[in-house]
């Protein structure tokens, strides 16, 4: 019997290596897997590359990873926001490298990784600072930038519910990067508010089929209604 549910947050992030690339779902706080990130801090891996929309704000989540000096590089679209002082301090000190990627290119590079594409031509960013030095091409009269897939060793994802095969459903806009990150990592770990029996999720409405999920762990935070 296949059971992807693990008993603890520690087990969920076991095997994470120093130098790993980690995708972290979330747009602001919505969909951010705070407990899994706490577990990464406890686990001890360092020199990490974080792939996420933001670079952390306040004192928890990615900000806590920054504060703990575990991050070598951030690939994200929007690092500067209210409360992003831990990122900014590390960045200004030259301790953290930043690869700034337009949000839609971040999404499509993650999608390309999950879908096994070698590279894609995207129109976003053409003619801007963020495409400097990148290969470009004119196709049917429009200009495109060649962008490469972003793969990760781990994806940390927050979902609403899962079954033991790792099938996932999400909640409202907390869905955001979860489904595409789940596909792009070697090991996908999901923090959920609820674990349900196999067969309880409608096969028509499963958003992430279990094939993209390796480990599921129940969150101790109360489920949102």
């Amino acid at each position: 019997m296949i059971n992807k549910i693990v008993d603890s947050m520690a087990e969920a992030v076991a095997g994470l290596q120093d130098g790993a690339a980690i995708m972290i779902s979330g747009f602001g706080d919505a969909g951010a897997p705070a407990e899994l990130i706490e577990a990464v801090i406890a686990q001890g891996a360092t020199d990490l590359t974080i792939i996420s929309n933001n670079a952390g704000a306040g004192e928890v989540g990615i900000a806590a990873l920054m504060k703990a000096k575990r991050v070598r590089k951030v690939i994200c679209s929007f690092p500067r926001q209210n409360g992003s002082h831990h990122f900014e301090a590390r960045y200004r000190a030259g301790e953290v490298e930043l690869e700034l990627v337009p949000q839609g290119n971040l999404a499509c590079r993650i999608e390309a990784a999950g879908a096994g594409l070698g590279a894609v031509y995207t129109p976003t960013g053409y003619g801007t600072l963020l495409a400097e030095g990148k290969e470009t091409r004119e196709i049917d009269g429009r200009h495109y930038v060649l962008e490469y897939p972003i793969h990760a060793d781990f994806a940390l994802v927050k979902a609403r519910a899962a079954d033991r095969w790792g099938n996932l459903v999400y909640r409202k806009v907390a869905r955001n990067f979860g489904p595409i990150m789940a596909r792009a990592a070697r090991t996908t770990v999901v923090q959920v508010a609820e674990i349900v029996e196999l067969g309880a999720l409608d096969p028509e409405t499963i958003v992430t089929p279990g094939i993209f999920v390796n480990r599921v762990v129940l969150s101790s935070a109360p489920a949102t209604a």
Partner: protein, 212 residues
């Protein structure tokens, strides 16, 4: 001269959004456009963090932090709305499925180049978000901005000096004193606030403006 304030400007932009349009409103002042869309017409608001059919802000008691817009403000979902992931959300934009997006700007060039993501200050921590995707993805890009900076410099320019967000992507500029079309043929004045003159606009912008 009677300038339009932000609310008047938001109402003016709203008048140019037809029923049935799929619209993305940028963070900040553009978000206010939603308040002036006519109640009896259906306009579809998309938010790049994964929802279509966005409704107004909820009552305090109904705030749900998993139902927010791109500016991370609580919103609601209309009947008929839907949720989707970031890949699908940006496919909507990049694939030309959004009819109109409304954005703020530091500068817009007469040919429609947009600068709205980076001041170019060397010590600034850069952040881009979805600005570049919106700029090149939406079928029409409307910019809402004051015509002049606080220092009195025109933000409608022959050529942007700030780092670009997108090339030749803006079609209209709604400013506090006039509405402009911009594009391959340069800038034209569509309308002005009462008491404004073409001559005065030329003086403010340093551009050889004509009426559209």
């Amino acid at each position: 001269m009677q300038r339009m304030d932000r609310t008047a400007l938001a109402a003016r932009v709203a008048r140019d959004i037809p029923e049935g349009a799929y619209v993305n409103l940028g963070i900040g002042a553009p978000t206010m456009v939603a308040n002036y869309l006519p109640q009896d017409k259906e306009v579809f608001l998309q938010s790049e963090n994964g929802l279509l059919g966005m409704g107004p802000a909820p009552a305090e008691a109904d705030i749900d932090w998993e139902l927010i817009n791109a500016g991370k403000q609580p919103v609601t979902l209309l009947a008929g709305g839907s949720f989707f992931h970031h890949g699908d959300s940006f496919a909507m934009m990049r694939g030309g499925h959004i009819d109109i997006c409304v954005l703020g700007a530091f500068q817009v060039s007469v040919h429609g180049d947009l600068a709205n993501w980076h001041t170019g200050a060397p010590d600034a921590v850069p952040a881009v978000g979805g600005a570049m995707d919106l700029a090149i993805g939406a079928r029409q890009v409307f910019v809402m901005m004051d015509l002049l900076t606080k220092a009195g410099e025109s933000k409608l320019v022959e050529k942007c000096t700030y780092p670009l967000t997108g090339l030749a992507c803006v079609s209209r500029v709604y400013s506090d004193v006039a509405v402009f079309s911009v594009g391959p043929e340069g800038a034209r004045v569509i309308e002005m606030v009462p008491d404004m003159t073409l001559e005065e606009l030329r003086g403010m912008t340093g551009l050889p403006l004509e009426m559209a």
